[in-house]
Subunit: 260 residues, 3 copies
C-alpha cells in the first residue's frame, strides 16, 4: 500500500528547510526547451543551478556540484559520451543524480540506447511518465514525449525497475508514485495544466536533484520534491490560461515557506 | 483579390476542431530562443510537440510525427545534413512540413545555401516575413531577423514563390497573405507587439504545422493558423508591456474555443 | 570616488534615446538558458537582436551587426573557435563588443582558458559578478554561476582589470560599479529578485551591447545600461513572486520612456 505524502507533512517541509539552508549547487544536462523553467524553479526554491555542457563542465561540475540531473533530451545539444561523463563523474564523486528518460520508448532506438548506457552509473533516482518508465523497464512506449499509459497501471513495473536499478523510481500522473521497490509514496493533487507547460516534467527532475543534495532519506526527498511541485501547482490554479499558469507556478514555488 | 479569413469564419474553427480532436504529434527543428514559446503554443492549442535533434529523432520523429516544422535557425544547434534528414524523412513518409527561412537574405551565404538545400524536399508550406521571402525568391534581404520590406509589396513575389516551389507561402506583416500561387487569403488585426516577442514568428510556423497535420485543405489550414495566431494576439491586447503580452498570448491560445 | 548614475540622469535617457532612434542590430552568442530573456529585453528597449552560431553567422553577423555580446556559456552550444571568430570579426570590423565571463573561476580550467582566449580581441566592455571578475583578474572564484564575493571588495581589482584589458569593466552586486580604470560610476537600487531570475545577469550583457552600439562614451553607455536595468527592476517590485517578477521586468523595460 502507498503512503500519501503532501505539503501538509512536516517531513516534506523539513526537506525544503534543509535545501534552503544548504543552497546546494545543482548541475543539469537538459534540453534547451526546459532549461529556463528548470533553472528558474531551482532558483525559486533556493538552489544554485548551472546547466549545460560547456567544455569540461560535465566532468567538473558533475563532480563538484551537490547534485546532478540528466534529462535525456540533453542529447539534442550533446553526444552520449558527454552524458556518460557527467553520470560517471557524479557516481564516482558520490553525488546524487537523477535520470529523466524523457521520450524513452517513443520510437528512437539510438536515443533509447544512449539513455540505457547511463544506467551502469547508478542514478539515485529515475523519474518519468508511465509510458517512459514502462518502456525503460522493457515494455511499450508512448507518443513523442506525451504519455499514453497511466501511473496506476505502471506501479508494479516501476517497483520492479527500482529493484533492478537500485534507484528511487517516480512515475508522474494524476497520482504520482515514488518507490524504492518496497515502500511506495503517493502524491495527489496538482493541476492538470502542468501537462500543458513544456518542460514542467523536466523541471520536476531538477527539483528532485535539489532535494536529494542534502537529504538523509532519498525516498523522502524524492517524495518531498513531488509534494512541493504539486502544492505550487495547486496554488497557481487561479491562473487564466496556460501561459500565466507557468508564471504563477514559479511564483508559488518562490513563496513556499516551510514554516507556514 | 485576396479573401479575408478570420476567427469569425466557421472554416477556421473547423480546422481547430480537427486539431483538438486528433491531438497531432508535431515535431520541430527550431532555434533555442523560440523553442519554449513554440512548444507552449502547441500545447495550448492541443497538439503534442517534440523539439530537437537528439540522435535519431530527425529521421524517426520526422517520419513518425503527424507534421514537422523546420525553422532555419535550428542550424545554430544542428548541421545542414540534420535538417535535410528531417525534411527528407517527412517528405518520403508523406508528412506535411513547414519551412521557416528566418533571417534568410540577411547576409550569411552559407546559411542561405543550407536553407535552399531543403527546397527539393518539397515543403508543404513556407512562412516568413517579407524580407526573407523576397530574398528566398531571389531579391534583396533584411536586417538580421527583422524585416525591412512590407507584406503588400511582397505579395506578387510570394505568389511566384508558391508556384515555383509548390508550397503554400505565407508572408507576415500588418496584413498576412497566404497563397498557393492562385488563391490569396488575407488575415488582418493581431497586435504589433507580436514583433516585440522573440520567437513569435517562429511559433506561427509551429502552429501552421499543427494545423496541417489533419486538414483536407492545406491553404485553408495555413490560413486558419494565421487567424488563430491573430485572434489570440488581439485578445492579449490588455497586457501592460511586452513581457505580459507574451504570457497573455499563450493564455488566449489555450482558451480559444471553436464552439464560441 | 564613484559618481552615482541613475535613470534620473538626462545622460542616461540620452543613451536610450539614441538606441531607440538607431534600433541597432545586436548580435549575441549566449547560452540557451538566457537567450530568450535577453532577446526579449533587447526587443523591449528597441534593439533588433539575433542570437546563435548558425553556420557563418559568427563571422558575418558579428562584423555586420552594430554591436556584439558574448556570454561565455555560449560554449555549451559552440566551440571556443566559434567564439573567437565572432570576437575577431567584431574587433576587426570596429564593432563594440561585450564579454560576459559567466561562471569564470568556478572550477572548470578548460572553460576558463577558452574565455581568456577572447581577451586579445579587445572587448569594449566586460561585465560579471564579483567572483567572476576577481577570478578573471587572477584571484579565486565562486560557486557555479553564483557569486560568493561582494562588488565593493572587488572594486580595486576591477579597476586594475580595466587598465590591463582596456575595457570598461562592470561588476554587479547590491551596488554595481562601472569603471574604465580611472573613473568609477555606481548604480544603486534594483531588486534582489534579479538574482533569482535565470539569465538576468546575461541579459544585462545584452543591454550593454545595445547601448554601446551608438554611443559617444562607452563608459556612459555601460553605466546607462545598468541604470536602465535597475530602474526596470524597481518598477517590477510589485510582482508576487519570481515568475511574475521576470515578466514585469520585461514589461517595465518595454515601457521605459526617456521623455518621462
Amino acid at each position: 500500500m502507498a503512503s500519501t505524502i503532501s505539503w501538509a507533512d512536516q517531513a516534506v517541509r523539513d526537506e525544503l528547510i534543509a535545501l534552503k539552508h544548504h543552497q546546494p549547487f545543482v548541475y543539469g544536462l537538459t534540453n534547451y526547451i526546459a532549461a529556463n523553467l528548470s533553472a528558474n524553479a531551482l532558483l525559486a526554491v533556493g538552489a544554485a543551478p548551472a546547466i549545460g555542457a560547456a567544455l569540461d563542465w560535465p566532468s567538473r561540475f558533475a563532480a563538484g556540484a551537490n547534485a546532478l540531473w540528466i534529462n535525456g533530451a540533453a542529447l539534442m545539444s550533446s553526444g552520449p559520451d558527454t552524458l556518460q561523463t557527467a553520470a560517471r563523474s557524479a557516481h564516482e564523486a558520490g553525488r546524487p543524480w537523477v535520470l529523466d528518460p524523457v521520450a524513452f520508448g517513443a520510437g528512437s532506438p539510438e536515443y533509447d540506447a544512449a539513455i540505457r548506457s547511463l544506467l551502469p552509473f547508478k542514478p539515485t533516482a529515475i523519474r518519468g511518465n508511465a509510458s517512459e518508465l514502462i518502456a525503460l523497464a522493457g515494455g511499450e512506449g508512448g507518443k513523442g514525449v506525451e504519455t499514453t499509459a497511466r501511473s496506476d497501471d505502471a506501479l508494479p513495473i516501476v517497483q520492479r525497475l527500482a529493484k533492478t536499478t537500485g534507484a528511487i523510481v517516480a512515475v508522474s500522473g494524476p497520482v504520482d508514485y515514488i518507490t524504492d521497490g518496497d515502500h511506495v509514496l503517493a502524491t495527489r493533487g496538482g493541476d492538470a495544466r502542468l501537462t500543458q507547460v513544456t518542460g514542467a516534467g523536466c523541471t520536476l527532475g531538477a527539483l528532485i536533484a535539489a532535494l536529494l543534495a542534502n537529504t538523509k532519506s532519498p525516498l523522502q526527498a524524492v517524495g518531498a520534491a513531488h509534494a512541493i511541485y504539486k502544492v505550487a501547482a495547486e496554488r497557481a490554479a487561479h491562473a487564466r490560461g496556460t501561459g500565466s499558469f507557468a508564471v504563477a507556478f514559479l511564483d508559488e514555488l518562490s513563496l513556499l515557506d516551510p514554516a507556514n
